[in-house]
Structures are given as C-alpha cells and as structure tokens.
Amino acid sequence: MTSQTLTAAPPVRAPSVQSSLQRSRQRMAWLLVAPALLVLLAIAGWPLLRTIWFSLTDAQLGDLTQMQFVGLDNYIGENGVLRDAEWWSAVANTLQFSVISVTLETVLGLSVALLLNTPSRARTLLRAAVLVPWAIPTIVSAKMWSWMLNDQYGVINVMLQGLGLIDTPLAFIADPDLSFFTIILVDVWKTTPFMALLMLAALQMVPTDCYEAARVDGVPRWRVFTHITLPLILPAVLVAMVFRALDALRVFDLIYVMTSNSRLTKSMSVYVREQLVDFQQVGFGSASATVLFLIIVLFTVAYMAFTRRRMQGV
C-alpha cells in the first residue's frame, strides 16, 4: 500500500512553458504533500536505508558498535543468503502459501460477496458478523485455532471423531503433512471477510440497470455473471488480490505463533526474524530482509506495469 501512495504523490511536471498560475499551483501541491513525504521518509525511508546498510556489514545484535563493511558477502558470499538452501525453502513456502491462500480467499470472498449482495433484511447484520474474524488480532486467532486444532484437547478433533469421520485425533499442527494446510486454512478463515467486503463494494458499484437490461433480454444468470458482473468487478478484484498477495508475502505472525519451529512452514519473514533475533546476525538478517523487500518491490512493479498497460488498452 505504501508503495502506491509514494508513487501517486508528486505532481507531474508539464513539459511546456508554464504560466505563473500553474507554477504557484504546483508549489502549493508540493507544499501540501510535503508533510506526508517527510513522515514517510522518517518512518519508512530511514529504517529501510539502515537495513540496507546493515546488510553490507557483519554486525551482531549483541554489539552494534563493532561492525565492519563486508560488501555483498552477506548476499552472495560463501555463506550468503542467496546460497542458503533454507532461505530458498522459505521462499518456496511463502510463494506456495501466497498463491494458495490468495486464490482460496478470492474465490470464497467472491462467493460470500455475491451472497451478501442479494437484497435482504439480514444483510446489514451479516455484513457486520462476517467482519468478526478480520477484526480479531492475528495472534489471538492463531492461538485460538491452535487450541481448537490441538490433537489432545482440541474441540475440532472431538467433533470430527463424534461425527465418525476420523478414528484417531489428527495432529493438525505438529503433523508435517498437515501443518502447512492448517496454516492456510486459518489464514483463509481470517482474511476471506476482508476480500468479501472489498468485492461487495465492487459489486455494489455495478449499475443495477445493466442487470435489468439483461433480465429483459432474457440473458441467463450464468452468462450475466461471466459477461457483465465479472468484467466489471475485475479491476477491484485485482487490486484486492494484490493487497492480499503483498500481505501474504510478508506472512509472519500466524506461522510464528502456530508452528514457529517447523522448517516445513517457515516463511521468509520467519526466516529473517530467526537470523536477526535468534542467531543475532544483524548483517545477515538485514541482507535477507532486503532480499524479501526486493521480491515485494518486484511484484509491485510488475503489477503496476500490468495495470498501466490495461488502462491504456481501454
């Protein structure tokens, strides 16, 4: 989200000769965005620059006054992050997590939004109720699900056994085969409401008279959905997916709380924290944080290039 605000802020300078009115307007524009730019520089720019600087040193968390410049050693040196198999496994985990969870959240979110979009008295209430999972702090919901999914005293296992679906309790979190999907499940549970609301907003922007025109023309419902609804909400859906994907690429709290020690579910952020805090490797940790940052930048730039092409295509 920050990257979008940043790129949107500075006014475009016109190439031609400017009137004094235009100049004073531009001065005003800069004046108005200056506070925001300063705050962004202070809270985002400075830490970022410092992280990049640390990544070029061998700093240790124990004593940050003693450090030496080591160039790109932390990246591509013998023990650099790009040569660490564990890092790449974290990258793979994160990508897999992002793709699966964002896809599921989009599909489920769209279904919920379509349900909520049908006019009914209960809708307002439902809309509020649906937001509850999103409003609960991640740590709380992660803990909650950890307890509910516990193989010894978890309520889910009791219910599944009661229904006769399983014979022995499943170790949703400890079992390496299950833990990854458990985490995706909890993330989907938590974030689907957010997607649903974004898409509901998009659905409500579709002019009702388009639907009425299609109704009079006798267009079947499914065709109305695929040929009118979907194309019209697609831009909003894409934005929602990108926001979610950027979030998912940084996933940390959920995994940290539920399966902090498992190599199978380790995400990039968890890896970074481990290096920085557990192993006290500020230099190396900063290097991995920077790589994580670059991956997200790459993703954002690709998305922006894609949308710009689309906008020009229209």
Binding site: P207, D209, C210, E212, A213, A214, R215, V216, D217, G218, V219, P220, R223, H227, I228, P231, L232, V314
Partner: protein, 381 residues
Amino acid sequence: MCQIRLDNVQKRFGDTPILADIQLTVEAGEFCVFIGPSGCGKSTLLRLIAGLEDVSAGNIHIDGVRVNDLPPARRDVAMVFQSYALYPHMTVYDNMAFGLRHLKLGEVEIERRVRVAAESLHLTPLLTRKPGALSGGQRQRVAIGRAIVRQPKVFLFDEPLSNLDASLRVKTRVEIARLHRELGRASMIYVTHDQTEAMTLADKIVLLKPLAGQEGVPSIAQVGHPLELYHHPRSRFVASFIGSPGMNFFDAEVLAASGDGVQCRAGGQVLDAAVNGRTCAPGSTLTLGVRPEHVLCGEGPHQGRVTHLEHLGEHSYAYLDCALSKAPLVVKVMQSALAIGDTLRFALPAGQLHAFVADGEALPRLAALPPAAMRAVSAAA
C-alpha cells in the same frame, strides 16, 4: 400482432399506493405515450409491463396471455432505459449483440441484425467504440438499437430523450416516429414528461396523475388521441397539463345554464360558454378555462393591461392584468409592436371556453373536434 391489456392493475410500494385501477388497452402496432408529472408512476407502470416489478393486484395480458407470473424474458418485450443501461465494458457492436447470443441464432444472423440496426440508426462508424467514448445522443441510439435487434413484439421506452439537448431531441423524435412506421407491427409504449413529444408521437396518450395518498381515485386521468386530450380535457388536471403555455383559469358565477350553454359572470362581465350545463344550477360557481392561443386579440368586450411580454419570434405571449381573473391572463398575440403598459382589447369566443365544476370535472363541450382532428381520432380508433 400484439395487444397489451391492463386490467384493474394496482401497484403499491409497502403501504403507499403508487398506481391504482389502471384500465388500459394498447392495440397492436399502436404508439402509446404515458405522460404525467414527475413521480406519478410512469416508469413504474412501464416496469410492470416489462416484468421488472410485480403487480400488487390486477392482470396484465400480452397477446391474450396473462403474463403476471412470466419473467421479463418470456414477455417478448424490449426496453430502452432512461439511463440507457449500456454495458460499459462492451463495444457498441457487443452491446447490441449480447442480448441475442444466448438465443442460438448463429453469429451470421446476429451480425446481420446488428448491421441493419446500426445502419438505420447511423451507428455503423461507431460499432467498435465503447459507450464511454460516445455522446449522449449516440448512446441513446445504441440503446434503441439494442432493442431493435431483439425484434420484440413490444417496445418500451422510458424517457429516452430526456438527456438530450433540444435540437438532438427533435431529431431523435423524428427518427423514433420513422422507426415506428418502419417496424410497423410492433407496439410501442413510450414514457415522457415532455408534452411536445407526447403530442407529436402518440396515437394514444395516457395521462397519469399522482395519487398523493388518496384512496379510490384511479391513476389514469384520461386516455385518448392527443387532440382529444387537447380539445376535450375531461378534468381541470388534464386541461392544465396538456398545452403550453398552460390554460388560463378563472372563477365565474353561473347566471343561467342549460344543455345548450352556460352564461356566467366573471369580474363583473358576462360570458357565454358553449358547454353542456344541464347539471349546474344558477348561482353556483364554475372555473372557466381558455387556452392562450384561443383568445381573440385586437378587439372585443374585454380589455387588459400588458404587464409582461414573451417574444418567441413568430408570435408572442402577453400577460394581461384584467378584471376577469386575479392571476395574469396569458394570451397569444401575432403582432410584436405591443409594449408593456399598453392596453389590449380581446374577446373570449364561447366555443373556446372550457368549464369545470368544483371537483375539477369538466362540463362536456358542445363544439366538436375540428375536422382534421376528427379524422385523426377516428383513424386511431
């Protein structure tokens, strides 16, 4: 051939009655115009016929089939929305073709129909554009084109010209009239609150009035040929709504009344009106009405002082301060030499006066419709 019959149709939203006691037949191939003040339920009535709203009571028959429970798609109607309702992400071509694609017509037939419609609406050069890149008038024509390609039995238009500027409006009005002649067999129902449109297009006008919460009053004020509504308004509401500028009204006391005419006194002057006054008693009060274009100016028993003038080029409207009425009397004058403050003499021909009793109902006029109007009315019937 397709006739639409509405039988005692009612519509309420919640507890509010919007339409009451609609009794109406639209003949096959007829051009029927719904007109009425804003909020009187014209769009609602159109949407009832289209099937976008359910009737609260009564029956709708299209082509002899009761359609109350049929979805819009099975009523074989096409609707042109006031807002055009074009699909913003589709080209003009696709906008017109979309309603046909699920009908298994084959792309060749679809293309043929779209091309023919586009040609007649001058849309051919615009087929690849999207609605966002069209002017209001062009969008409106696309909306009409989308209805034409369906080849429905009934066309429903909801104020299609209300977003256009004056000159485009006249042009499109003529095009719609031409379209109706060309499509021949299709019935058209057309909603407007512009009475010039209503007068010029309609075979039959349906004038609706707002219910304003009253019970037991039908929504339809009068149905008939435009000239019938103009010359023989059945109530004061109809008389004031049809015609522009509106009819002048003033109160008068009945001196003598019979089936051959009524003599009254207004502002100290005696007036004769050629209306059937069998039902009114001497001494009672009537409201007299006369249209600005029917006042004979230049000489006559009455006189008034000009307080305001509106020059329209070919003729002018003069607002007169006179003894007959408190409100200024508007008259149409051909001479433009008149100035504010001048005194104008005028006469009110008995045959041009309308008379309304206290509850607004008109006394039948003795004068027949002018011959041209008679011909038009009987042709329509």
